[in-house]
Amino acid sequence: DVKVTQSSRYLVKRTGEKVFLECVQDMDHENMFWYRQDPGLGLRLIYFSYDVKMKEKGDIPEGYSVSREKKERFSLILESASTNQTSMYLCASSLIGTGGLETQYFGPGTRLLVL
């Protein structure tokens, strides 16, 4: 079974803090993704990576950055947390596949509260 783990289930941070969210997958997947999930908005893609040290912006990258130094690990960084970044953050991974059609496998999520 594919396993995607996220470093924290719940986080509480203060406005202006730098926040690191870590994601690790154990299936040698090339692709990794960070989403945020908000009620009524579904999942929105923040960033994704298709290889080590490679990254691409998703639909809502503002206020976020990412790091992928190893194939199995993909980090999401909030440079200066703001209250509007309070959300559920979901990490996913997939094989690179043909035309990007491979199933994405999700971690359990990190619920972040910024005060």
């Binding site: 579904g42 929105r44 998703g58 990007g100 059609l101 999700f106 359990p108 999520g109 619920r111």
Partner: protein
């Protein structure tokens, strides 16, 4: 632009009755469609996908989905709902390594 619409925020059904969760899509090129389920405080779990072939796709937990090209729909169905099916369901379309998700439909199955 690729997009997915789930027109119902919530669907209520009695246990044992058939259920349908609706999804329509807009995509350039061939549609590659997915359904995921999310239980409370959990990540998303893959249910099924349509890439090509038979319009009726069978997936996990007795779920199936019907692809209808003319109506640009990919509705999720189950012949007999269980209370344990109560969860949040997401439809998604894949396009070149990126997934576009609908806003989600909360399914409530009552005993």
């Amino acid at each position: 632009a690729q997009s997915v619409a789930q027109p119902e925020d919530q669907v209520n059904v009695a246990e044992g009755n058939p259920l349908t969760v609706k999804c329509t899509y807009s995509v350039s090129g061939n549609p590659y469609l997915f359904w995921y389920v999310q239980y409370p405080n959990r990540g998303l779990q893959f249910l099924l996908k349509y890439i090509t072939g038979d319009n009726l796709v069978k997936g996990s937990y007795g779920f199936e989905a019907e692809f209808n090209k003319s109506q640009t729909s990919f509705h999720l169905k189950k012949p007999s709902a269980l209370v344990s099916d109560s969860a949040l369901y997401f439809c998604a379309v894949a396009h070149f390594n990126k997934f576009y998700f609908g806003s989600g439909t909360k399914l409530n199955v009552k005993p």
